[in-house]
Each structure stands twice: as C-alpha cells, then as structure tokens.
Symmetry: C2
Subunit: 194 residues, 2 copies
C-alpha cells in the first residue's frame, strides 16, 4: 500500500504491482518559494501533481502585465495546458511558479497516457478530474461574463478561503482580471460596510 499513490489516484484498491508501476513513473521535485517549474517558451511534456505547497500559473502579456490562469494547492494537477493539450504542439506560453515551498510529482504526458491505457482505474480517475475541471472552467468563464469585479472577488475568497494566506493580493487581482489598485478599493469598500 503506497500512500502517495492512494493520494494521487484516489484508489486504495490497487495491487502493489500497479502502485509500484505508477510510482516508478513519478519524479519527485522540491521547490523553494518563488522558484519556477516552467517558463514561457520552455518545451512542455509533463504534468505536475502538487503534493504540498502552492503554485500559480500565469502569462505575461505584450505590455508586460501578469495574468494568473490557475492556482494549485495540494491535490491539484498543473501544467501549461495550452501547450500540452492544444491542437498544435507548441512551447509553453505560461510561467508556473511556487508561491510557497512545495513538493511536486512530475510525470510525462506520454507516460501518463500509457498508464491510462494500461490501468483503467487511472483513466477513470483522470476522466472524472477532467470533467470537474471542465465544469469549473465553464463557471469561471460565466463569472467573468456576468459578475462585477467585486462579486468575482467575493466568490473567489469564498471558493478559496484558505488560499489568501499564501497568495498576494496582486496575484488575486491578476486572477480576477483587475489591477491591484482596484482590488484594494474593493477590499476597502467591503470592510467598511460591515
């Protein structure tokens, strides 16, 4: 019984052989705060599982501004999905950086795809993960279309109540698509009316 494999693949009914196989494909990585897992223009071949810590992926636009795509905490997978999953194989468009010291497990997409074929359980866990991510992407698009900056912020701290200990406000602002100044004013407005 491999507790890491149980954690990652959410299945404790796996044989030792299977767990060993899975484990052999994972490469452990330690990241100090502010270190990068990936940078724009890097070649992208891998998926990253967050075992501990907190990461964030973001892009830098033509004007040099950062835009946060995703935060990832324990239990989440992260990568440059545009490059890794996109129609045309490209190099990374985003940066993935640790926000606090982190332990990551890396697996190549190629290996992962093979595991999905070899082990239906892995395929099924992955399928469900993709579906959940799908739903939450739709939700984010919808919120961006329908809600004010203030409402998006309230939803954010509601959805990620613990994350605000780790991430800076300007990370949140760049996730919500507003400036740090605007977020500051929103926070002020919220705090004064209570």
């Amino acid at each position: 019984m491999n507790p890491l494999i149980t954690e990652i693949f959410q299945d404790d009914s796996m044989s030792d052989d299977q767990a060993d196989l899975l484990y052999s494909k994972l490469k452990k990585i330690h990241l100090r705060k502010n270190e990068f897992l990936l940078k724009a223009n890097d070649e992208v071949n891998d998926l990253y599982y967050v075992h501990q810590g907190c990461l964030r992926s973001y892009i830098i636009d033509l004007e040099g501004k950062e835009h946060t795509l995703q935060f990832a905490v324990k239990g989440w997978w992260i990568s440059d999905y545009i490059a890794l999953y996109g129609k045309t194989k490209t190099s990374a468009v985003s940066y993935i950086q640790s926000i606090k010291d982190a332990t990551i497990y890396r697996i190549s997409k190629l290996e992962f795809d093979n595991l999905c074929i070899a082990l239906p359980k892995v395929a099924n866990v992955n399928k469900r993960k993709m579906e959940l991510a799908f739903a939450s992407f739709q939700n984010r698009i919808l919120e961006n279309l329908t809600l004010s900056a203030k409402q998006r912020y309230l939803n954010f701290i509601n959805a990620y109540p613990n994350i605000s200990n780790d991430v800076k406000n300007y990370h949140i602002a760049s996730y919500l698509g507003i400036t740090t100044e605007s977020l500051s004013r929103i926070r002020k407005e919220i705090s004064t009316r209570s």
Copy 2:
C-alpha cells in the same frame, strides 16, 4: 461500416458489433430553428452530438441578460457541463437552443461512461476531445483577461469564419461579454479603417 459512428468517434477500424452497440445508444433528434434542447432548471443527464446545424448555449443572469457560453456546429458535443460534470449534481443552469435547423444525437452520460469502459477506443477519443476543449477553455479565459473587446471580436471571426452566417451579432456580443451597441461600434470602426 456505419458512417455516423465513424464520424462521431473518428475511428473506422471498429467492428460492426461495436458500431452497432454505439449506434444503439444514440437517439436521433431533429430541431427546428429556435427550438430548445434544454432549458434552465431541466434535469440534465445527456450529452448531445451535433450532426448538422448550429446550436448555442447561454445563461440568463439575474438582470435578464443573456450570456453565450458556447456555440456548437457539426462535429461538436454540447450539454450543460456545469450541471453534468459539476461537483454537486444540479439541474441545468443554461439554455441550449438551435440557431438553425439541426440534427442531433443524444446519449446519456451514464451510457457514455459505460461505453468508455467497454470500448477503450471511445475512451481515448473522448480523452483527446476533453484535452482539446481544456486547452481552448484556457485560451478563452486568457483572451478575456488580456484582450480588448475589439481584439476578442477579431479573434472570434478569425476562429469561426463561417459561423457568422448563422449567428446573430447579439449572439456574438453576448459571447464576447459586451453589449450589442458596443459590438456595433467596433464593427463600424473596423470597416471604416480599410
């Protein structure tokens, strides 16, 4: 050899038995222009494959405004993914309406999941479809964060050059997250500088 199955599952190396099994799970649906496949608060259990025509999914916010989530043309799947894939099973939040006469094939998610288990080919085609959708969602979020309304519009008509024959401008506006008036002004600006 079942041409419909070949079209939907992008695999012509399937046995007749397998193709028959797949075909038996599909229910053909005809939609006239403006008919609904799904409405908010309906129970959601199915996936829909667009064989012909054009559909659009949208939500109506608290102020009564429409926001387009997705367009779907031949070869695309559509459903209320927030309800169907979300963490907590809920009823539909969106409307799915045909924009022109359409032929749809419906399959229940339950049946589809069973097929994914029974037929690895189906699982793999589905996996790849999910990955592509994943990448394009990330792209859309990124574009919403980084680009002006004008740039998003230009990207849209570039990405869907044919779609503009079918969809109304106010559909596009609600997809881009702007008002019809703003889109009208953007279109004017584009046409006059050329």
